[in-house]
Structure formats: C-alpha cells, structure tokens
Symmetry: D2
Subunit: 362 residues, 4 copies
C-alpha cells in the first residue's frame, strides 16, 4: 500500500505554484490602443500583448480602414477602431487607458501630444523623437495632462539584459573597462517598413537612431552611468540618393568612472546585435543582445565560460506590464520620458561629433 | 527632394507581411476546455493558448471550485466553469468544441469517453493511457462518437524537432545508424505534480511513461520507422516505498532499416532531454530536445558544426492549432489516437523486456 | 623618471616561471623505441614525443627498411633502426629503455614478450590483447623480467578527462546515475590502417575493441568503480564479407553504486566520441572526449552551463612522460597491465552477452 | 577465409599518408638561435620549435649564464651558449642560420643589426621596433647584408586565421563593412615579463604596441587592404606612476573599399582577444583570435552559425618553418620587414591621432 494517499479519480488540488501569477481578468487589464499598424505593431506587439498579465489590446488606430478592421476583428476589439482623423474620439473610449505610438519617429511628438490631449497615458516607441526639443515638449505635455509617459525600451525589461545588469553590478567581471556594442542590419528600400527610415525628416537620424540607440541605452544601463563626452566617425555610405540619413556611424562615449563605450551601427551589414562588457576580472557578452526572441548571455572569467539560459523570456509582455502597473499605481514608469530624452541628447551629440570631427561634451 | 515619396504625417499602409497571419477572430476560434488545472495546464497550456491563432480557452473543469473560478476569471471565461461532477453539462456549452484532458494518465480513458459522450472532440495528454486496452477503447469511443481524438505530442509540432526531421530526411547526415535519446529528471515526492506519478495505478508506468515516451516517439519520428524488437534493463532505484513505478530504465529498439535507438529515462537525475541522431555522414543533436522553451539543434559533418536558430518557436500553440484545424476541417489530426496507441504498445513491450531480461518482438 | 629600474640594454633575467619545467636534457630522457610505423605511430606518437619532457624517440622497428630509415633519419636516430627479424639486437642498444608496441592487437603479446626478453620495459597500445589469457601472459612476462608494463590509455593522461574526473569526484554533478558513452567511425577497408581491424584474428574484436574500449575505460575512470554485470546487443552489420569482427554493438554496465553505463560503438557511422555523465545534480559532457587534439568539456547545473578551456593539452606527451617516470623511479605506471586486463575481461563479457542475449556477471 | 590477405605477424607496410610530411633530419633543419630567454621564448618558442619540420633550436643567447646553460642543456645545445657580450662569436657557429630576437621592442633594432653583422638571417618579434626610423634601418641592414628579415607575426601562420582569410576572400560573408577587434590583458608590474612593457623607452608604446598590433595587423590581413586614415581616443589610465606608456586606446581605421576597423587595446582588463568581421551577408568571428593555443572560428549567415574546428594547429611551428624555408630558398619571407614597418607606421599615426584628437592620414 503506497504511503501517498491519492484518490483514483479526478479531484481538485490547490492552485499550483506558477512561474508567473495568473493574469488579471481581461476587463481589469489596462487597455492599450495601438497607433500605427506596421510590421512591428502587428508582428510583435499585438501577439505579445496576449501574454501580458496586466495589459490588453483595447483599440487600434490606423489610416487604412480595411487593415484596421481586420486587425481589430482578429483581436476581438472590432468596436474600437479609429482612423487618424477620428482619433480624438478615443477620449470617450473608456476601454483605452494607454496610447502606444508606433509611428515613424518624427510623428511621436504629435501623437503623444494628441493622446495626452485625449486624456490617455502614452507609451512611445524609441527613439523618443528626432530632437531634444521634441522630447522636452512631450514631457511637458505629459506633465500638463498629469498622465504617464513611457518610452518603449524593451531591452530594459528583457530578462537576459536584466540578468546581465545584475551580474555586472554584483562584480562578476570586476570594474567595467569597456562596453563594445555593435548593431547592424540591411536597410531595404524595397520594404515598406524601411522606407521612412531612409528619410531624415521622418526618422530623425539613420542607423544610429534606429538601432545604434540600443548601444547607447545598453552602455548606460550596463555601466549605470551617464556619458560625459562623445567622439564619432561616419562609416561607409551606399550612395543611394533616397537615403538622407547616415547609414553607418562609429562612436565612443566616456563615462565618469573611466569606462568607455565603443559602438557602431550600420544599415549596410548583415544583422548584428552584440553588446560586450569587458571588466578587470572577466567579460560578459550578450550576442544577440537585443533580438526580439533570441538572446545569448555568456560570462567568461579565467578558463571558464558560463552560459546562462532563461526559459521563455518575454520582454514585450514585461514592458507592457510595467506601463500597465505604472498607470494603475499612478507612478512614473521605469523608462519615463526623461530616459528617452537622455538618449536623444546623446544621439544629437554623436551626430555633431561625427560632422565636426571633434569631441562633444555632454 | 528625396526620391521616396512619403507623407510627413501618419498614413495608412497596407497590411505588412507577417511571419504568421492574423489570428482568427476570438469568436471563430475553436473553443478548448481544460480538464485538470495543474501546473502544466496553468503554467504552459493556458498562457500559450493565447498565442494560438485558431484555438482559444473556452472553459475550465476542476474539482477545486475556488481555483476553477480564479482561473476562469483570469482568462475571461468566468461563465464557463465546470466541476468534475457537473462536467456533463458541458454538452450544452456551444463555446466548447474540444476537451483537453490534462489529468493523471490513468484517468485519460474515463475523461476521453465522458467528453465524447458529451459530444466534444478530445485532445489527451501523453502517454495516451496506461494500457493498450485503454487506448483501443478511447479510439473506439471517438469513432463511435464520430469525433476527433488527438494525443498531445507537442514535440511533433515543435519547429526545432520538425527542422531536425527535415534535415534527416534530406540526407544531411546520411543513413541513420543510431538514435541515442536520454531523458531524466528528479521525481520530487514533496511536489503535488509528482505524487501521482509515483503510483503505477495512476501513472501506468514511471519515468518511461512520463519522459521516456519522448525518446520512443522521437526515435520513431526521426527514423520514420516502427521498431520491431526491444530489449531493456532496469536502472537504479531510490528505495522510496512510495514509488511503485520503475524510476529508471534503459532500452534499445531495433528498426527495419537496421537503425537502433539506445534510450534511457530516469527519475533520479538532473534534468536531461537529449536526442542525438548518428548517421553514416554526420550527426544531429537536439539538446535539449523536448524542453518547453529551450531547444538547441546542431548538425556536425566533418570539421564543421552548424547551429540552427529558430526565433520564437511555440510548440504549444502549434499543437493546439493543429487540433483546431482538424476539428474545423473534419479530418484526423496529425497525431491521432493510433499514434498514441503505437507508443503505449512499445512502452508495454519495454517493461516486459526489462522484467524478463529477454528481447520482446513488436 | 620611472620607478621601475630597468637597463636600456639586454640583460639577464632569472629563469621565468613556466607552465611546465624545462625538459630533461635529451641524453637523460628515457629512450623509446617504436615497434610498428603506421599512421598512428608516425602521425601522432613520433611528433608528440618531441613535446615530452622525460622521454625521447630512441629507435624504430619496422619490417619496411626504407620507411624505417626515412623515419629514423627524420628524427635523428639513423643508427637505431631495427627490423622485425633483427629486433633482438635492441637488447644491446643502451639508448633504448622502453619498447612501445604499436602493432595490431593480436601481436601485442608476442612483441611484449620479445621486448621483455630483450631486457626492455614495455608500453603497449590498447586494447592490451585479444584475450584475457594473452593479457595474463604479458603481465607474467613483465614480472618475470622485473620490467614495467604500461598500457597506452592516453585519455587517462588527457588534461580534459582528468579535469572531468576531478569535477565528478568533487561532487559537481552529485551522485552519478548514468554514463552515456558512444564512439563511432567509418571502418574504411581501402585504408591500410583499417584492414587488419576488419579481421577478428588480428584485432580480437571489432569496433568494441578499437573504440568501444574508450567507453569502457571512461566509464570506469569516471565512476571510479568496476562493473559487475553487462548486457549487450549487436547493432547493424554492413554485410561486407571481409569484415569478420562485430561492426557495431551497444552494451550496458552495472556498477556497485547503482550507476549504469549505456554505451555503443560502431564502425558504420561518422566520427563520434562522446562521454556524458549524468548525476543527481547536473550533467558533465566530454564531446569529443577522446579525440587526439579536440576536446570540449561542459558542466550543466540548473540554468547554467560552464565550458572549461584548457590551453595546449598534450595527452600523448603526458602519457609518455608517465612511462618515463615509472621507469626512472622503478614503480608501476598509472595504467599498468592489470588495467588493460580489466578492460579486456569486460570486452569478452560484452561479446558473450551480445551473443547469448543474456546478462553476464563479472 | 577473409578476402583481405594479411599476414599473422608484423610486416612492413609502406609509409602511411600523414597530415604533415616527416620532418627534415635534424642536421638539415635551419638552426635558430634565441636571443632573450624570457617567458615567451622558453614557454612557447623553444617547446614549439620541437614541432617544426624545417627549423630547430641551435643556440641560446642570454645575459644570465646559469639560465642560458640550463636551457641549452635541456634542448641539447649545451655547446652553443652565448652571452650578450660574446654574441658576435655566433658568426663562427655554423649550426646557427637564423637569429630570433626576443628582447624588449627597443632592442630589436640593435640586435637585428648585430645579427646581420654576424652574417645571420633575422626573425624579430613584433612590434618590429618603436619607430618607423628604426624599422627602416633594420630593413636597410638586412639588404646590405643580403640576409632575410622576417617579423614574427605568428597569427598570419595560424590555421584558424588563415581559414578566416580564405572564407572572407571567398565571399562567405559578402563585402566587409567593419572589422571590430579588441585586445586586452592586465599589465602586471610585479611580473618580470611585464615591467619593461610599462616603459615607453623600452616598449615604444603601451597596450597598442603590445597587443593592439594584433588588431592592426588582423584588420589588414582580413580586409587585404591598407588603411588610409586613423582616429583614436585614449582610454582610462590606472594612474600608476611606473607606467609611462598608454594603457588603453581605442582607434578607428578607414580602408579604401570603405570598410572600417574599430579597435581597442587595454592593459587594464581581463584577457580579451577578439576579431570580428561584419559583412553585408553575414559575420565571422575569431574569439579568441590570437591566443597561443585556443582559437574559435564561427561564421553566421541568416539563422545558421557554423563553427569550424581545425585539429592540432601550431602557429609557432608554421611561422618558424616559413622562416626556415625562406632562408633555404633564398627568398623573402611571407612577413618581411616591410610588413612590420607598415604596422609601426600605423601605430605612430594612432598615437598621434589620440594625442591631437584629429584624424591622421596615412
């Protein structure tokens, strides 16, 4: 007779321990309206919103009525469709708490201001806006409306990047000497998603603003410091007349501790997303660091390399849940407008350094 | 004037190309009722159902009313809660198309039969049931009810395992000589989820039925053949009196081509989930092969090892979508009851071979 | 003025710390005669002897006079060439301390006995000999001559395998549950080096004796135990009439602690050399484990995999130095004849188990 | 009766195919005298000379008579010991063909000139010398003496780096966009081997001259181009007064094709030796790239990463054999003085760029 007394039929055990608690009931989750239904919004954000525990898709906003309807139906919000012209009616949509701006960079400011004017909180894609002035206006608009403003720095909510930060802070590789961070991808002018990125008036900048920002932000959160000076060099150009942004750039950032970040970004190379931290006692590598779904984290000290595996990390859901909790708790989100502003200030300095060939103080 | 004509304001682009099409509208998705709300149902199935495109969570069935209510509310199906006693009322719940049986192995048959009796299709966890006789009864019940019966072999829907099959079939490693497949984990009697697994009357078998089945099934789908003979050896035992199943077993399977599978499973070792295929020209390794979220696939030929990375694979959603499409299209699912029966017949033969010390023909 | 006082010209610093001490002067190193100048002797042993610190190449013995002369000249021992007929004259060659028998397995006994008769110590390749009786005769011959007999188990001197042993003994993966060890390669009858391996009268056995022995020996040194029982199964055959040995075999070994070794070897598959140790707390993998030059060692516990890198390991030189020191110190070498005998006894039991289909006690 | 006719006794097979031909007889190998018996000379060069096929250790030169004698005895050249004062007598030593200068950088010129004056060929460590003027004088001295001058760029003879070059040239990753190359190690003032490296008068430069040169040279041989412009930034300093060289530096190099090298070197970080090539179609990584014994080479294109394994590579022996063949064949070696001069010219430009904060044309 086995000592474990179990019935021979289905019973009702207590709620098991779960890696993540049950999600909030759908009607209690913070409602998010997506403004802009491009490849990122539909390929990554909408599907991963289904994995959030505190947020849910509540409405869609697009200039393409057919697309908007199809998306809204697919996600069960057919009655919450807005066009760019009718957007202001969203003020009356009580299912919408947050407006997530997924439009080209140059439009972040306008839509953030319109969303605040409609009484909603705002989550804006990175880079926050093309200029420091834009960023400051967005922050001011949020303060005036007394609403939350968050910049969608998904990597800061990624379990792999968070683990890397923890390891560095815990001294796993000693004092940081350099952060070497390189991001590249091919800008494909035949693809809709890339066309606006080729235009400085819409994108603010080129590869630096699009993917180089991961290196800027990453160097900041890994060192825990703010850079005081930058130098920069323009990399090769393709000569494509359609491209009015810089396509590749290398830059260096000086941090108060003496640590340096050595970075590059490019629109002319195969996909590359690496952040490496070199310390006095060892090295830590995220490669890829900022991919949507694949990250590898290794730490090398002496003859030993440790590889860390984190099952089922979802940086998108974690980011959206942070926005939801900030709204619900009436507090600033972890990556507020001020965080976005800091990066845009650095991006401007990098472009200036590249153009002048001189170091620019921050 | 840049050659790419783009407006300086938000517009409405066509629906972008997506890796996966938009999901079906929620009300059109095939409704799934979960029977049994344990760690696997709540930790893996319920959250990943949110990622399915053709299926959705429609109801829950549990003997624990409080837990059932909490789960149903969390997933927005508060009006679709059933107890084990009131289960038959599910026949009238038009939102439920499929009953997914997530109870201990020995209960799969009873609940499959009750679900068919209630007019629903059935998805049953693996192993299908403790005995060949149970399996045959389940298949007969489905045929009598003219409903679909699928066994939840998630690995067969995993993009990594599917890629491995494709590579092997394409001759990437030549003719298969051996499949070496080992699965292990610590059976923890202090954990609710493991207690029933210690009892042969509830589990049917031990580590072999729980995780060794991955090696049996994997060797079959990787070779594309059915084994004709097995030998087996019992491994070490812990001596825990509560455990009435075999805790570890090694076995060998002969395939018509001459290929052999060399397998083991154990409840007394740290987690291990490896399937290796050795061919005349190279080797292919899935390690882990059958984890929920982490898989590594490498192919070695000569001096070169290739590592394949598949972003964002979701075997759970793919499996649930297959069930949904089979229901919708009125066809047999890819892993029908007959597939489950084949494995249980092999499991019985392996236990017999271990007990008798003799080869058992299939 | 820099505080480090250094002259601006070449000076004479003390001997620096070195990873390995300086070698013994050539004339003091133990002289080794190679008997048999095949691919292994000339491709691996002769070049690596140059890296030994206590041993050196002193003479060559071959039935091919031209080859012997060329090799002897290349290594600076032109005056120390012997044929198989004139071998006994080596008794008078004071530069030769050790005879290293690199001939087909069936000849190990004869040449070991002849070498002892000539007053030399003996290093014999593995497997020690085709039969237990041969091994016992070789040990007796060494004892009668009061000379050392060592079996060339290079893996036991390999820094990677030694590190693995240390890690296992230190409890890095808990209690050993299984050792899974698989060795394969294609036996190529068109290659001189493989032809004798196809004949049971010359090789003693097939893939089991040639490469499976690494799994037998590895399971023993990793567990630190002697097996008490074996079961075995013959694998596929090629049907080549020239091959009178078993081409593939799987076997299982029971150890007193309850640990099991699950092994295979094959002459019909691409090169494979893996030894895996599964414990209660983690797993350790050597893959390849027994390659001449490439080894990878990883240890996985929980979510972390550690990869150990050992620079410039040379198992050949370490093995030859052990023989040299055993000779110089008048002590038994680390892998004496008794070690070779233990494996051959197990090999015989495995073949018997495969033939009878029954477990064989040891 | 097996079809393979083989005798049952030892016979004499033809010379087997070997990965490398037999070495030249010792007396025919090119004799090398080591000038300077530090950690590198004794830890790496002397032992690996034993693996060369065309070169051999012939003599040693040191200011420490006891050490020189011990080393010479260990390698069997007890009668070929020279002090720095008696060096010129080496002119009469017919066993010495090549003088290998392993002294601090500032002494390379003097000893190269003395060796040429003694009628020997010269192999000099890298960097060739502290200044362009020194390099030009060394080249002139060699031409005047009609002797060979080679710079010991071992990485150019390393099978891994050679394979990387081949892959890049074959278009495996498309057009090169960037080479990211970082080298670091801790300069340890308590270690004899590092003390002279802290002094600019002896070392010429700091981490740049010591290890950064690998990045300079690597970027050149991987792109197959010569840089036209450099920018540079000084990295953190330790503040140790003994250190009169730069401890860390970052620099960027522009190549005619538009490719850029983004490099750093540091004496304040854990060991790092990575060279990465980013192309339009993929990326290639050597990490470590320039270790004595460990190299990893991976090529990533799309979802696939290929890892290349080369068994038993010996860059030291390959380099020494190239010098030997150049001497024997009366031709320029693959890395002549002109190659060393090119790098030193770049090193000077990098230091100038760092000091001035301006781009320096080459």
């Amino acid at each position: 007779m086995p000592p474990i007394a179990l019935p021979g039929h289905a019973t009702g055990r207590p709620l098991p321990d779960l890696d993540a608690p049950l999600p909030d009931p759908p009607e209690r989750r913070v409602g998010v309206a997506l403004v802009g239904l491009g490849a990122y919004a539909l390929g990554q954000i909408a599907p991963n919103l289904s994995q959030a525990r505190h947020a849910r898709l509540a409405a869609v906003v697009s200039g393409n009525a057919g697309k908007a309807r199809a998306v809204a139906e697919a996600y069960g919000v057919a009655d919450h469709v807005y066009s760019y012209d009718t957007f202001e009616r969203i003020a009356d949509d009580e299912t919408v708490d947050v407006v997530y701006v997924l439009l080209p960079n140059a439009l972040h400011r306008e839509w953030t201001e319109r969303a605040f004017a409609a009484g909603k909180h705002v989550l804006s894609e990175k880079p926050m806006a093309p200029t420091v002035a834009d960023c400051e206006a967005m922050i001011a608009a949020g303060e005036a409306a007394d609403k939350r403003l968050m910049i969608a720095y998904r990597a800061q909510f990624d379990p792999y990047n968070c683990r890397a930060i923890d390891l560095v802070r815990a001294g796993a590789i000693g004092e940081i000497q350099t952060v070497v961070a390189d991001h590249g991808r091919i800008l494909d002018l035949s693809a809709t998603r890339d066309q606006w990125r080729a235009r400085r008036d819409l994108a603010g900048g080129g590869s630096l603003y699009d993917i180089g920002i991961y290196s800027v932000n990453g160097a900041r959160y890994l060192t825990g410091e703010e850079p005081t000076e930058v130098t920069a060099q323009v990399l090769a150009r393709s000569g494509r007349p359609e491209v009015t942004v810089e396509e590749g750039i290398a830059w260096q950032m000086v941090f108060p501790s003496g640590a340096r970040a050595l970075c590059s970004s490019s629109y002319l190379m195969a996909e590359s997303k690496r952040i490496h931290v070199q310390g006095t006692d060892g090295e830590l590598t995220l490669d890829p660091a900022t991919d949507y779904y694949v990250r590898n984290l290794t730490v090398t000290t002496g003859e030993t390399t440790r590889e860390v595996t984190i099952p089922n990390p979802n940086q998108f859901a974690a980011m959206l849940d942070e926005m939801a909790l900030a709204v619900r708790e009436g507090r600033a989100p972890a990556t507020p407008g001020a965080e976005g502003l800091r990066d845009v200030r650095i991006l401007e300095a990098i472009l200036e350094a590249a153009e002048t060939g001189r170091a620019v103080a921050l």
